[in-house]
């Protein structure tokens, strides 16, 4: 069964093409990641699928319902966490949760076992105003609120943006747990390193999908040789490396620079050419999703 089916959807805002003929499907029970920077059209896609916007062209189905014709049906079976902090800062943790439960006509008790693993972590602070919570705790409360009516499909728009690395990794653990319970999750993120936590991902940029596959499959698509190069003076290395023939691209990547080998590249020759740089070191390296993204962007 497909939880989300998107066929050739386009959406423009005036002269800006937010989405241009996007198509993909998300299977039931899948944790699907939309990976892309700001302006990729992720938020627009979420708003289309949660029936807040109407597409200019194309159709989509969520949980089997058409996003235009059956939008009311969709609204009762999905959970949505928009990009911004979408809770009431002047209400307490508990009041927020109760309110969102009532919004969907359920009680907290009915859904407690689903939200419990997440909510229990913030329950000690249930009388604190939501506005006074830390970034990680806000995130947990927002997720609890989005889950309170036991949705089949969960839409999370950039839930980890601006959150520190530890909270981010905790959040992904929670998502994995939810997936185990059979909830379909569509999540977007600008952090490439989070892609590996998804079952499948779509790389998107400027309103287009550049590639869809499992994280491993995406990396397998990378068909050129990639090297990690290092030297004491990294900036000089970057400038010099780009002058060497056969180097398609060289860009900073973590502690090293990644070097994309083109036609006629030879690592031995490279080491010789730049031998004047102290501490020069070159070795083949396995590509990451970010390398794939960079390559697809340049195409």
């Amino acid at each position: 069964m497909e939880a989300i089916e998107i066929y050739d959807i386009s959406k423009s805002f005036g002269p800006v093409h937010a989405l241009e003929s996007v198509s993909f499907t998300v299977r039931a029970g899948e944790l699907f990641g939309l990976i892309g920077p700001d302006g990729a059209g992720k938020t627009t896609l979420f708003r289309l699928l949660t029936t807040l916007l109407i597409p200019d062209r194309g159709t989509a189905r969520v949980g089997g319902y058409d996003i235009v014709a059956d939008y009311r049906a969709i609204r009762s079976c999905v959970g949505y966490m928009p990009g911004r902090f979408s809770l009431y800062p002047d209400l307490t943790v508990e009041e927020n949760l109760n309110f969102f439960a009532a919004l969907f006509g359920v009680t907290v008790a009915q859904s407690y076992n689903l939200v419990a693993p997440i909510y229990r972590q913030i329950e000690p602070f249930k009388n604190r105003r939501a506005g006074k919570l830390s970034g990680g705790m806000k995130q947990k409360l927002a997720l609890s609120c989005a889950l309170i009516h036991r949705p089949q499909i969960l839409f999370l728009d950039e839930p980890t943006t601006g959150v520190d690395a530890v909270s981010r990794s905790e959040f992904w653990n929670m998502l994995s747990d939810l997936r185990q319970r059979g909830i379909t999750i569509l999540v977007s993120t600008p952090y490439m390193d989070e892609a590996s936590r998804c079952d499948r991902i779509a790389l998107c940029n400027e309103g287009r999908i550049m590639g869809i596959d499992t994280p491993r499959g995406i990396v397998h698509q990378y068909d050129t040789e990639l090297y990690a190069v290092r030297a004491h003076n990294m900036y000089a290395l970057l400038e010099e490396a780009r002058k060497v023939e056969g180097v398609d691209a060289c860009y900073p990547f973590g502690e090293a620079h990644h070097l994309v080998a083109g036609l006629g590249f030879d690592s031995g020759h490279f080491a010789e050419r730049l031998g004047f740089l102290d501490g020069l070191h070159i070795e083949p390296v396995a590509p990451t999703i970010e390398d794939v993204f960079i390559k697809l962007m340049k195409r």
Partner: protein, 246 residues
Amino acid sequence: MNDVVISVRELTKRFGDFIAVNRISFDVPRGEIFGFLGANGAGKTTAMRMLCGLSYPSAGSGTVAGYDIRCESERIKRCIGYMSQRFSLYNDLTVRENMLLFAGIYGLSRREALAGSERMLGKLDFVSEGDTLVGSLPLGWKQKLSFAIATLHSPEVVFLDEPTGGVDPVTRRQFWEMIYEAASQGTTIFVTTHYMDEAEYCSRVSVMVDGEIRALDTPARLKQQYAANSMDEVFRILARGAKRGE
């Protein structure tokens, strides 16, 4: 001591009973890219505000570009550049207007400002976009532009508060190349980020947890010390013990 641009001793900031920054000490030499990491609420922003002369320390001392952060904050403001993800540029002004405006704010003469902004436009390959409204530029361009503007008056130190949030990987790298270049010309860079791979680009990295600096070293030595493969792991090992949120 001309080569130490930022020097901080036992710097502390209290808000009532709450100790936001607890006796931090470090030195940043000229031309270094200093990564200032920490979990949400660890006290990074407070510490950065004190260094920029926006907040008065409760205890401890520090100098930035040779000026005392307690009593010479006005002088400090003149020789630093600041850029954050939140406030960057005026969207309803053109690229050139923004450049001239900030050049003026930092006290460049009209002639210096004009020459400086044209040079900057050329370097960024932005000459054709000089009269475009900043609001209509893509985010990545805006960020590059705000960095260029923050360095227009050749400051001694540039403070960057999460400069690359939400920017695509290619632009993010172009941005870091600008940082590298500025650093290689002797500008000191003080940067906070949530991207752990960016932490690896820094010459040295400090990790703040609960208002204190728990670790400060080169990325390579930190990874060695904590037997980790990446800065991400180092950060997680250090920040896991964090007791407080924002």
